[in-house]
Symmetry: C2
Subunit: 341 residues, 2 copies
């Protein structure tokens, strides 16, 4: 009746202890606990009762060792506090949990293949059964290739390589949609504040932007580049504010967009009256800062879910064909964009 009656001594109870108490063999206990079909309801009940009575918890290490399965997936992400990875991680954790997997995280401070390989390697040591890279892996090094050949790997918005699957928003479309929105409002052209060069999505959004301008027969102004942070947006904004011909700006993230807007305001250029600004991500604050930000939303949580889903599929059947999955982004028009004055 006591709440935690350990078996013999202070030692944590063993499968053997459970077996003894239930009057069956270790093996039967194992089967009962792993929902093996061929176990009598009666036997199963006895085992469960013994488990409850002893407060038994399966030893993950032993289970892992003998079965070779860790029921754990690893996540490599940037420690950046950015909205997208946080939401993606959440989606992954949920999906993993419902599929009976635990999640282990490894962060990397650099996007160099070596740093990423190092993070993957840490996860490999923990015997994860699959890895999700929430960082862009532009080029696969030997090291990353080696690990992802051995451990199923899914990249989010990365580039496709032989041994990794990709789940992604079509970022070129994101760039195109954002740009077309501004053009359709009547702006002559659209300036672009891109994300860092190492990020795949940054490059693709840039391509989309360029393609949209080209399709409309407009010249692409010189590009600006930030690091996703509001501060970098602010710096870029200081430049843009000086050029009267700038009436429309497509920033590759909401945070940069707000930085840009602030710089514009400080220099007397009103948004959206004088300049229209659009971002990407639809962070929680996008609708509540002033002006409310027009942006392109991405279904981050679903992306996380999909990534884990794929991973589990490949874990179950290592020969299944790696495929590329694309999910759609949505334009959300708010107050930061308007027709030119």
């Amino acid at each position: 009746m006591s709440s935690t009656p350990r078996s013999p001594a202070g030692r944590a109870p063993d499968m053997a202890d459970v077996a003894a108490l239930a009057g069956v063999s270790k093996q039967t206990v194992s089967r009962a606990l792993s929902n093996h079909p061929n176990v009598t309801a009666r036997t199963r009940a006895k085992v469960e009762e013994a488990v409850a009575q002893l407060g038994y918890r399966r030893n993950a290490a032993a289970s892992m060792l003998s079965s070779g399965r860790s029921r754990t997936i690893g996540v490599v992400s940037m420690p950046t506090l950015n909205y997208s990875s946080a939401v993606i991680s959440y989606g992954m954790e949920r999906a993993a949990r419902t599929a009976g997997y635990a999640v282990s995280m490894a962060t990397t401070t650099s996007l160099s293949p070596e740093a990423i390989a190092e993070a993957m390697s840490r996860l490999a040591e923990q015997a994860v059964e699959g890895i999700v890279l929430v960082v862009p892996l532009l080029v696969g090094s030997d090291a990353t290739e080696e690990i992802s050949r051995r451990i199923p790997t899914v990249t989010i918005d990365g580039s496709r390589s032989a041994s990794t699957q990709v789940v992604a928003v079509d970022q070129a479309t994101v760039g195109r949609v954002a740009t077309e929105h501004l053009l359709s409002l009547g702006h002559e052209t659209v300036w672009h504040l891109a994300g860092p060069g190492e990020w795949v999505e940054a490059g693709e959004r840039e391509s989309g932007w360029r393609a949209a301008l080209e399709a409309a027969g407009r010249d692409a102004p010189p590009i600006l580049r930030g690091d996703w942070s509001p501060e970098s947006g602010y710096q870029a904004g200081l430049l843009l504010a000086r050029m009267p011909e700038v009436t429309a700006i497509f920033a590759s993230s909401d945070e940069m967009a707000f930085g840009v807007i602030r710089a514009l305001h400080e220099h007397g250029r009103r948004v959206p009256d004088d300049v229209s600004v659009i971002g990407v991500d639809d962070i929680a604050l996008a609708a509540y800062c002033s002006p409310a930000l027009t942006t392109v939303a991405q279904p981050f949580e679903e992306i996380g879910r999909l990534a884990v889903g794929h991973l589990i599929e490949v874990i179950a059947d290592p020969d299944s064909t790696p495929e590329q999955t694309t999910v759609d982004a949505t334009l959300i028009v708010r107050g930061s964009t308007a027709p030119p004055a």
Copy 2:
């Protein structure tokens, strides 16, 4: 020279394989790899060479099983995408990594003791050596108590219980500092938009606010309550905007503060001219949205670091005395607060 010369067959290389190649015993390999002091430099070099050549990676499960140590700590957090937990997690991961620990995460959607116990239990099953609760645990249930008695547990901003340590910002001081700032500007009183009741920090900030008002001999206006989200701040703001006597508002989070500000603006009340608003957290956007937000910053990364530090200390010496650590918050004055009109 090939990049992945597995030993005998396609099987992953074994410690025995390494030992054979290096011409030493398994045990020596083990020692060399765990940085045991008594290993000749020469031997260590041979082992390392063999490891590199075979692409050997230690099997965590086996190691864990025989040593009884998982070198993993678990984190329980809310899936909320809030800035603070993201930064705290980052600090933890870094600290854990440098200490040679991996991090495993478990999220909980509810703050009920049962839900938290369930998350802790998932971590316990993974044999984590310690747990950090980034969720507030107001009351410890039997289940949480049982686990935290067995596994060292640190709570961030939680309430102190027999078996958990606490790392916290003194949230009452946060509330007091924010309130005093507004009073010192000359506001008659300060309204408060608190966080959800289940959160310890919400309650403590409220106390600090109340205490500051009392110390200044002012009446505490009725309290409003949000859920940390910008939307909830907006809703509260709709109420506050209707009351002309409101000139100063202390919101318990930056995101709520921006929601409040938006509602005020929409109803023609200017910030800070008509109403001053202060938040808590100093999120990245605080300085870049308009108006720039006056706020109280908390050293989240350090909190994460400290939590893990404590945990590792207790893991190393289970008898060390649980102590409460407090770190300081900083008032950051920006444009959203000003003397009353």
